[in-house]
Symmetry: C2
């Protein structure tokens, strides 16, 4: 579980999603408990539209997930929570993930690096 090793492309998307102070803070806040967007926006101190965009990016990366619920007084509120991801970043692990990269032009040729 914990998403058994994402694809190279997926990994890039996850890293890109986390590589932003505001989004990092969003994940950090959600790590303390689920929350709905308007409240979360007030909590962190950003505009709702902006938060909305970042939440979309984080959800697209699979780091958080949102569910639309109806509160006791009938209001529609979207709750977000973290997804329990677990990424281990080391040089060898990245080398493994890079094998499944498709973004740039294909060029996976084995070659000697150090010949001295």
């Amino acid at each position: 579980m914990t998403a058994a090793e994402p694809t190279g492309d997926e990994l890039v998307e996850m890293l890109a999603a986390l590589a932003n102070p505001l989004r990092l803070r969003i994940v950090a806040t959600l790590a303390g408990g689920r929350d709905y967007v308007s409240h979360l926006a007030r909590e962190i101190g950003v505009s709702r539209p902006l938060l909305h965009m970042h939440l979309r990016r984080l959800e697209a990366a699979g780091l958080i997930s949102g569910t639309l619920e109806l509160s006791a007084d009938g209001k529609a509120m979207k709750y977000y929570e973290v997804t329990g991801f677990d990424l281990h970043l080391t040089a060898p692990a990245l080398a493994e993930a890079a094998k499944t990269l498709t973004r740039p032009d294909p060029d996976q040729g084995p070659g000697p690096k150090e010949h001295s």
Copy 2:
């Protein structure tokens, strides 16, 4: 060692450095052995100026390190290698790192998330 928990800002910089297909491939290639920039550029199939910029970014993030050496035939060549980083990304770990974020406006107020 392995850089005992970077600062929030440092973490963002590291993630941003890795959140790019080309840079990920660069790290992956260097994980197989150190190399100098011209050879690495041919290896990966990118222009040298472009590779140079990405190497700067990776080195600034502390993920790789370069040393200028003189080859047997007197040529100055800059060798790069990975730095043995080891990042463990989980929601709680990110929450911890987010405490040391300084980028946006300060706003580290404790607050209830789930009250339902």
